[in-house]
Symmetry: C2
Subunit: 123 residues, 2 copies
């Protein structure tokens, strides 16, 4: 444990070996988790400065402003960091469906003992 | 993109090179993100079977039932998996503070242009 990082007020993200930190995006209106992605230092700075969520795409190996092509941007209302500073919680207003499948949230399937079930969008 | 993994109803987690998947835990009552941790296959199975959140501790390199020593267990109400099956969303009832610092949530600091600020627990 690192007391300054755990409890202090200095931003000191613990980037992983790829230079990334996990970012969880929730819908500021209802608390639903919309997506989980990753930010590098530049994505985090752009997110703070512009008020729109930016990520690092591990598959494309490039910086990515969410919604840049789809228009489904995430307007940031609050950013939190966790105790060991290796995860971010971004509360946002989504401009449309967040998931590339067209679903409102990427988490549209429930895990149970029998496998996955689709979640009713109204839930 | 892998269509079966992205849209199908077969549980097929995309474990990373360490055999882990990211798990986001929210408070079922208010949607607050309580913690972000990791599960390996065994932790996920135990979480599904027992109804209590289990994780893989990267620092201790061991399986970990949340609250085993503190008593602050996480009773699972719902588990979701995201489109590419590399992240889980666990909705839970926390039996006490989730953070090792004693905070209700690990995300007790806000990130802003000037650095971090403590978040009022009432927010």
């Amino acid at each position: 444990m690192d007391d300054a990082r755990d409890k202090g007020l200095t931003l000191n993200p613990k980037y992983d070996r790829d230079g990334l930190i996990t970012a969880v995006v929730t819908d500021v209106e209802n608390g639903d988790v919309l997506m989980v992605a990753h930010m590098n230092e530049q994505a985090l700075q752009l997110t703070i400065q512009t008020g729109f969520a930016h990520f690092w795409s591990r598959s494309r190996q490039s910086l990515w402003k969410k919604g840049e092509t789809s228009g489904h941007m995430l307007q940031v209302r609050d950013i939190r960091i966790d105790c060991d500073q290796d995860a971010l919680w971004v509360k946002a207003v989504p401009a449309g469906p967040t998931c590339h499948t067209g679903a409102r949230s990427c988490f549209f399937r429930r895990v149970g003992p029998e496998g996955l079930t689709a979640v009713d969008a109204a839930e």
